[in-house]
C-alpha cells in the first residue's frame, strides 16, 4: 500500500473552510457546514434516549442513514476533488482498496474520526478502527450500554458502496445501500477503540 496517511492528514487538515459571501460553503459537490460537534451528538443522544426501546433500532437506523447519504455523496465529491487529485491520487496503486485507505486518511483529517482500515476482503467486507471520534464524547462518565457512532457507521457503509457498489448515482437510487455497517466496539462502551465491520447488505 502506497498511501501515506501522515502526509494526507497533514495536508488536508490544514485546509481552511469558511463561508463565502453568501455564507455558504460549496465544495465537493455539496454545501458544507461546520457546526459544533456537540450539536450532532446532543440530537442523536436525546433522540435515542427519548424513544421507546421497541423503536430504538429504527431510530438509530435513521441516524445511520443520514450519515450513509452524506458519506455517499460527499465521499464521491471528495474522491473526485482537486484536493484528492493533488494529494491522494498520486499514492493510489491498487483500486479501489487504496482509495478506501486514502478516504479514511481524509476522514481523519476532517476531524470525523481518527480512523483507519484494518482489513479489506475486496467486494465483501471491510473492518475499520477508530481511535478517537467525537461520537464517543457523550460518555463523559462511565460507559454507554450501546455504541453510538452512527455517523461512522453510515459513512463506512457508504465508502464501501462507492468502492464496490457500482457507478456513482447522484440520485442515490442505485449504488447506495449495497453495504451495511455494524459497530462491534466503542470507546463510549469502554473499549480501547471503535470497531466497524462493513458487509454486503
Amino acid at each position: 500500500m502506497a498511501i501515506d496517511r501522515k502526509r494526507i492528514i497533514q495536508a488536508l487538515s490544514e485546509l481552511e473552510v469558511s463561508g463565502n459571501e453568501d455564507g455558504l460553503i460549496p465544495a465537493y459537490n455539496v454545501f458544507v457546514n461546520q457546526l459544533p460537534a456537540g450539536f450532532w451528538n446532543s440530537f442523536a443522544q436525546r433522540l435515542v434516549r427519548s424513544i421507546d426501546i421497541d423503536l430504538l433500532e429504527a431510530g438509530e437506523a435513521l441516524l445511520v442513514n443520514a450519515a450513509h447519504e452524506c458519506g455517499y455523496h460527499t465521499g464521491y465529491g471528495i474522491i473526485t476533488s482537486e484536493e484528492w487529485k493533488a494529494v491522494v491520487q498520486p499514492m493510489v496503486e491498487k483500486v479501489p482498496e487504496d482509495i478506501l485507505h486514502g478516504a479514511y486518511a481524509v476522514f481523519t483529517a476532517w476531524g470525523w474520526a481518527k480512523s483507519e482500515v484494518t482489513s479489506i476482503v475486496p467486494g465483501e467486507k471491510m473492518v475499520v478502527r477508530a481511535y478517537d471520534y467525537y461520537e464517543a464524547d457523550p460518555a463523559v462518565y462511565g460507559n454507554l450500554t450501546r455504541p453510538c457512532a452512527y455517523m461512522i457507521r453510515g459513512v463506512s457503509a457508504a465508502f464501501m458502496d462507492l468502492a464496490y457498489g457500482g457507478d456513482y448515482d447522484p440520485t442515490g437510487k442505485t449504488g447506495m445501500r449495497t453495504f451495511q455497517c455494524e459497530q462491534t466496539k466503542g470507546i463510549e462502551c469502554g473499549d480501547d477503540y471503535g470497531e466497524f465491520v462493513v458487509t454486503r447488505a
Binding site: A37, W40, L63
Partner: protein
Amino acid sequence: MATRSKARLALDRAFDAKACRHYLNNNMHVLHCHHYATLYCQLADDCSILDAKKLLADCAEDAVYDVLSGYFAANGIDGVVDRIAIAEQYFSAAGMGRMVVVCAGPDGGDVEFVHSHVDEGWIKKWGQRDEAVNFIGLGFVAAVFAAAFGRPVRSYAVTEVQSIVAGAERSVFQVVAN
C-alpha cells in the same frame, strides 16, 4: 436605532494532531454536508413519537449559545449591537448562510436568512416544499437572542413565517421573549 457594528469575528482555528480534531475558537467543530443536515431535519420532521423538531432546535440553540456566549466572554463583547454582528458572522463562517438581524430588543425581534444552508440544501436534494424545514435555524436564532441579551437558553420562541425552501426570496423569523 443603533447603527451597524464594525465588530469582526476572529476565527482561531486549531487542529489537534494527536486526537485529529478541529477546533474553532476552542470549540470542537466538525464538517458535514447538506445531505446530513437536511436528513436530520427530515428525520425531525417525520418523527411522530416525539417533537423532534423542537428537539433539533433546542440542540442547535444549546450548541450555538455555548459558542457565542463563550466568545463574548472571552473577547469582552458586551454590547448587543456588537454581539449581533458577531453572531451574524459566525452563522456565515459555519456555512449556514447569511443571517440578517433586522431588529432586536429584549422582548424579541425579526431575523432574515438571505441565504440558508438548510433551505438551499433541501432544494438541491429534494426540491421545494411548502412547510418550513429549518429547525436548526430556529435554534440558531433563539441562541443569538439569548446570548445577545445575556439571558439563558429557552428565553425566546422563534417562528419561521416565510421560507426559502417554499420559494420565498428569503426566510423570515419572528422572535418573541417567553
